[in-house]
Subunit: 401 residues, 2 copies
């Protein structure tokens, strides 16, 4: 190496950075940005659900009545009234002191990893699991172990088999029990009861991620795992799906043993989440706003899910494609016939102006090449009909090829 080269690139990357790769989904989303494409790929809430006028009023009020405080540095824990509002809306007894406001629930995952994961620590995840969680945990260099899972959630015996002992004892099991990203599946009441009991018996902490729980269609999902054993669980929530993602606000509910460390990690990460945004959301949430607003999101997303199910039944007939029926959330999980590969199908679909995310992106190991994730919330019903027909056509051609 010439001295000149050394001068040009003096940077030595950390080991974790060498392993970082661009998000597969991010790369896919770039491909799907061509004009006119119908995208079932992104995990974007429908912007029709954003309460723009409520935010306008809240902004004006916060700046008029409390502008200087809203624009000043603030406590790392979060804005008191927002922490209280979060605590009071959760279905178990939560002390607001156990609530930490985060810069989206993604940051909650980053903080959890910083506080609980050493290089080489074993952590357990569902099969498949949320890709963003894998990305957030990865910088702390865990050993990620996938737990067998079915339509009701993780296999509790496999959790016990993989929980490990001694130095290889898992630091936690990460689960997304309601309308999971990517599968849309929900952990049943029986599975929750069994997992909660077994985790307590094993001394296995649970990280429960619940960004979609409020988006149920016919009936609310069963009680959260954290409600069953608050001292053994960290619960992550988000305002992104019930209000809007662009404010980047989420929260963590953590037990007393962990909260002080999460708070210190939060302070080191970004001092605090935007005080202005926290006051806006606290203002919008007053007087039962969510009780009126969230049902409108549920109704919209249910009608979109129904449209996608109907289009799949019509267009996929005879193609050997399988799919599930999510009870809420934003995603539906489909499986191509034996021998087909969703990654290979994607460019053929994009050529027909429709996009999805290959399911392989969501597995910590042993990906299922036949799986694909379809979001039913961003596209309109007309687009869903056109897009599913195009997807069926792409599958038909790929089968014939």
């Amino acid at each position: 190496m010439k001295l000149n080269d050394l001068n040009t690139n003096p940077w030595t990357l950390a080991r974790r950075a060498e392993k970082m790769n661009p998000s597969v989904i991010r790369e896919i989303l770039k491909v799907t940005e061509k004009p006119g494409i119908i995208s079932f790929a992104g995990g974007l809430p429908s912007p029709r659900t954003f309460p723009v006028s409520a935010f306008s009023e809240a902004c004006a009020k916060v700046l008029r009545e409390d502008g200087q405080a809203a624009l000043q540095y603030a406590a790392s824990e979060g804005y008191g009234p927002l922490r209280e509002a979060v605590a009071s809306q959760l279905p178990w007894l939560v002390d607001p002191a156990q609530v930490l406001i985060t810069t989206g629930s993604q940051q909650g995952l980053d903080l959890v990893a910083k506080v609980l994961v050493d290089a080489g620590s074993r952590i357990l995840v569902e099969t498949p699991t949320y890709l963003g969680a894998l990305q957030a945990f990865s910088p702390m260099e865990p050993e990620v172990v996938s737990v067998d899972s079915d339509a009701e959630g993780v296999d509790v015996d496999d959790v016990a088999a993989k929980a490990g002992t001694g130095a290889s004892r898992a630091r936690f099991l990460y689960v997304l029990p309601n309308f999971q990203n990517p599968t849309g599946r929900t952990m049943s009441e029986a599975r929750r009861a069994a997992l909660s009991a077994r985790a307590a018996q094993l001394g296995l902490p649970l990280i429960e991620d619940n960004p979609y729980g409020d988006l149920w269609f016919d009936a609310p999902p069963p009680l959260p795992l954290t409600a069953r054993n608050p001292e053994g669980c960290i619960y992550l929530g988000s305002f992104s799906k019930v209000l809007a993602p662009g404010l980047r606000l989420g929260f963590v509910v953590a037990p007393r043993h962990v909260m002080p460390k999460l708070l210190q990690a939060k302070q080191a990460a970004d001092l605090h989440s935007p005080s202005f945004n926290q006051r806006m959301v606290a203002e919008v949430m007053k007087h039962g706003f969510l009780d009126r607003h969230v049902p409108t999101i549920r109704a919209l997303y249910k009608s979109q899910r129904d449209a996608m199910l109907a289009a799949l039944s019509k267009e996929m007939a005879g193609l050997g494609v399988q799919w599930n029926t999510p009870d809420g959330g934003m995603f539906l999980w489909a499986r191509l016939p034996q021998g087909m590969d969703a990654v290979a199908l994607l460019p053929k679909a994009v050529a027909k102006n429709v996009a999805f995310v290959p399911g392989a992106a969501f597995y910590a190991d042993n990906p299922d090449p036949r799986a694909l994730r379809l979001s039913f919330v961003t596209a309109s019903v007309d687009q869903i009909n056109t897009g599913i027909a195009a997807l069926a056509e792409a599958i038909r051609e790929a089968r014939g090829a």
Copy 2:
């Protein structure tokens, strides 16, 4: 351990978390929250400088014209027009593609550490240095080495002596050249030229943190280090001191070799900084707003610095206290006479209704027990006069004791 205990606390903390401690400053600020206290302790910009009405207009406009996009998920890099505005205001040629918008410049420090620091990696810092940087770097478990520093900045020969070789080669030197937190000192032009040349020769990357650079009083500070060698430096900037901290917006300017990894770390940390806040700031910055607004902050802070210097000259006469004269920023650095200890002085000062931060908090090692940091921007001129008199009285009593 009884099984019951195991069930109650199943949490194993990461090694880095065991080492996390509450911020000394945070604990001090709690002590100083008693009513009626005059605080020179916090690093809070004067809320009188926050352009509340400009933000009100910008909020309303963003939500009216672009509400759905402002509230949706967005690119991890940041909002294009804001990245362009940042690039165009910097005093060297910056491609907007090299600008990453962060959740405050504190997050820039977190991302830099994630991408560049392995456990045990040597990093160099000034003596003393910004406490928040030590906190942000600490989770990646570096070996932090303090470089000798004087009133003009780091000792360049000591940088070379401590840069290390082979596996112990320092990953970077972290510097805050303009109106440093905590000392208020500015790195001279001669020192910048020498450091820039020596760092390039050593292949030592520089992390240049510049939150206060726009807050100069009589003349702008010398050209940033990054402007002299953009491929060898990462530059961190902030909107907290020129607009408002409560929006939590800062930025990183990074060379091509490092930017993709910083971006991936950013995505894993919080997906992106709030799109709404980014659009608000881009809107406020239009039509040269900062060119009109920042001079008003400079004038205010200069008058407050002058008031504190005058009060110190008057009240500390004969007490053997030394202090410097910062050319900008928010902080002044003082030193108690031989034999006195700033930590021991603090409760005596608080008893007289005045607070400061003991300088010891800002040293990676070998703290100077006599140093203290005084912020001159949060208190009013009247409070500065009263508070410095009270501080002098506390020193007088402590000397006599």
